[in-house]
């Protein structure tokens, strides 16, 4: 059984609980053993670092050090968490900085050594679980579905921290998963852009114009739903969708799926178990289409 140090992030334990439950359901089905990092802190998501970059770095060194101490690969389920973890790891390559950071970890017996390689569940599915195993577990191919990927910035940028060259499947990981599961990818300009969530409280109009524009584009290109590895994107695309529709003055009705929900559906797990009844944009039409 493959074992992972599992960092759920804050939103999966708060405003997007369906991401947490669907992750656990899918992991169980795949035979993944997830050891949740219950003592770990929020990554700061770039917001703590707005004023306290050093503090944010220490918190992330600590989380990564926990996975190193357990000698387990670190799994995130949020594009933002992966990005922030990897950006921190990049800074810690500077030895003096790492030593300074480690002073704060020593009192609890932790040391960040720089071996942690934080990865998203989506990458782990393709890199560790593998296409063959996923294929073997697909009970309900999603042939009827046209799905738009929505990556979340930090799973595609900055490329220098994401090791795309060493792991070419990462470059189009979502399209690959969509197609392994039998669905058709709808490509559109907005799929690698910003959902607008980071500025929702500072500039709501800009934020929702971004979300609305991408949703409208994907919907008009025939997407039945979007799939996202980022719960922050999910908040702006799903929970804010009615407001985004008003801001751009269009009708929007596009369900947004989390990555493990999509996989779970294809593996024949019950929609309730995957939290699909806890979305703001109703998922029934989508579920009817695949007979789930």
């Amino acid at each position: 059984m493959s074992k992972y140090a599992f960092w759920p992030g804050c939103v999966a334990r708060g405003a997007a609980p369906e991401l947490y439950t669907s992750t656990l359901a899918v992991a169980e089905h795949l035979g993944m053993d997830l050891v949740e990092l219950e003592a770990a802190a929020c990554t700061g998501a770039g917001i703590i670092s707005d004023g306290e970059p050093y503090l944010q770095d220490v918190l992330n060194a600590r989380t990564m050090a926990m996975s190193e101490q357990m000698d387990l690969p670190l799994m995130d389920i949020c594009s933002t968490c992966v990005g922030v973890h990897r950006l921190a790891a990049e800074k810690f390559r500077e030895v003096d900085y790492r030593i300074r950071i480690n002073h704060h970890l020593a009192p609890e017996g932790l040391e960040y050594r720089g071996t942690a390689d934080p990865r998203h569940l989506l990458w782990i599915l393709l890199e560790d679980v593998g296409i063959d195993k996923i294929n073997s577990l697909v009970k309900k191919p999603l042939d009827e579905l046209n799905l738009g990927p929505f990556y979340g910035c930090y799973l595609v940028r900055p490329e220098r921290t994401l090791d795309f060259d060493e792991n070419p499947t990462r470059r189009n990981s979502l399209e690959q998963l969509i197609e392994i599961l039998g669905a058709t990818t709808v490509t559109y300009d907005g799929m690698t852009k910003c959902c607008g969530f980071p500025i929702l409280t500072t500039n709501k109009k800009n934020s929702l114009t971004m979300a609305g524009t991408h949703l409208d584009e994907a919907q008009s290109k025939g997407a039945d739903a979007l799939v996202t590895p980022c719960p922050l994107c999910h908040l702006n695309l799903d929970a804010q969708q009615p407001d985004a529709a008003k801001v751009i003055d269009r009708n929007l009705n596009l369900p947004i799926l989390h990555v493990p929900q999509l996989l779970g559906l294809a593996m024949g797990l019950a929609p309730e178990k995957l939290g699909l009844t806890r979305h703001v944009v109703d998922t029934n039409r989508l579920l009817n289409k695949i007979g789930a």
Partner: protein, 351 residues
């Protein structure tokens, strides 16, 4: 000799027609996208319009979208571009008005530098130096990345905020502003920080999407500069804005339970002080959250938000310790910096 197909986004201003056109070009190893555009123009269609000059990635004229991302066409080899999309799609820069084919009107982009007044403002009470104004190497090293901008516009073209808001200063002008904020020869550091923190379309409107960092051909790291400006603006006390309140509210939530506090954050971003003093705008902002909160209630998400999940007790204790240590270290550092500043001023003869 290999052949490569290009799909070029064209625009004819005389007929107001936009269309894509395919061309096939013979390519040699090492050939650039710009070489290929020249080959098309010289050998196939002389009406194809694009900007170019130096061909050495220094003039900044030939930035355009290659397979959807802005880059210098003279610095981009055909082989590398084809790996990311074949046929290679070439289009004009985004977020700007297209004049013809691949040529855009850069007026809006350049205007942002004027708004941010990105030129040196020397100390007026200082005698001009005999030769030039000097900057020491250590200080320059810290911000030199931001001084390498060639004004090609690639970052502005791909900026996700500029796409929805013409008023956003944009990555290049903000990075340039950072460059002058950091320059010890500049007298207007504090005025600059105040402007950048309070101006609509300033530093707090950036989404941190990293598009600019990815697009920049010169590693200016515009977004990193914007993030550092935020820290400097907060340190300088320019904090009466949503961005700072969001940062402070978010950070205090993590301090308390180790995790983001989604319950309190909206109130903190609007500003508890503003709400208590009856600020009408603040109350309207809170009202704006109501429909969203009702939707979260209906989808049973408000339940889990209200439970305010946190790190376990052991974790919280350690997280709080780290917050305290970093705070103490910062205070210590500030004391050092103040002492250094006083010493520096004495050495300068004070001003």
């Amino acid at each position: 000799m290999a052949q490569q197909e290009f799909t070029i986004q064209r625009y004819n201003p005389d007929t107001d027609e936009s269309y894509e056109e395919s061309f096939t070009v013979d390519v040699q190893p090492g050939q650039t996208v710009l070489d290929s555009l020249n080959a098309i123009k010289w050998e196939q269609d002389g009406t194809l319009s694009f900007r170019m000059s130096c061909r050495h990635a220094i003039c900044g004229s030939c930035a355009m979208k290659v397979n959807g991302q802005s880059m210098l066409s003279c610095q981009t080899q055909v082989d590398a571009a084809a790996e990311r999309g074949d046929p290679i799609h070439v289009g004009p820069q985004g977020n700007q008005h297209v004049i013809k084919d691949l040529v855009v009107d850069v007026e809006k982009f350049l205007h942002q530098f004027e708004r941010a007044e990105t030129w040196l403002e020397p100390y007026e009470d200082q005698e001009p130096p005999e030769k030039e104004y000097r900057q020491n190497v250590e200080e320059f090293d810290h911000w030199s990345h931001a001084s390498t901008c060639i004004h090609c516009g690639a970052c502005y073209s791909d900026c996700t905020v500029a796409a929805v808001d013409e008023n956003f200063l944009g990555p290049a002008a903000l990075a340039k502003a950072y460059r002058f904020v950091m320059d010890s020869r500049d007298a207007k550091r504090d005025e600059r920080l105040k402007f950048l923190a309070e101006e609509e379309g300033g530093i707090w409107d950036c989404t941190r999407c990293y598009m600019c960092v990815q697009a920049c051909p010169k590693d200016v790291l515009p977004m990193d500069a914007i993030m550092e400006l935020r820290t400097l603006a907060i340190e300088a006390g320019h904090t009466n804005n949503h961005g700072t309140r969001h940062h402070k509210g978010f950070t205090s939530g993590v301090r308390k339970r180790g995790r983001l506090d989604e319950m309190m954050l909206p109130v903190q971003s609007v500003g508890i002080g503003r709400l208590l003093t009856g600020n009408i705008g603040a109350h309207k902002e809170m009202m704006d959250y109501t429909p969203g909160a009702i939707r979260l209630l209906k989808s049973r998400k408000l339940l889990t938000i209200a439970q305010r999940h946190g790190a376990n007790a052991e974790g919280r204790e350690q997280i709080e310790r780290i917050f305290d240590e970093v705070e103490a270290e910062k205070h210590h550092h500030n004391v050092d910096a103040d002492a250094f500043g006083a010493e520096f001023e004495t050495a300068l003869g004070g001003h």
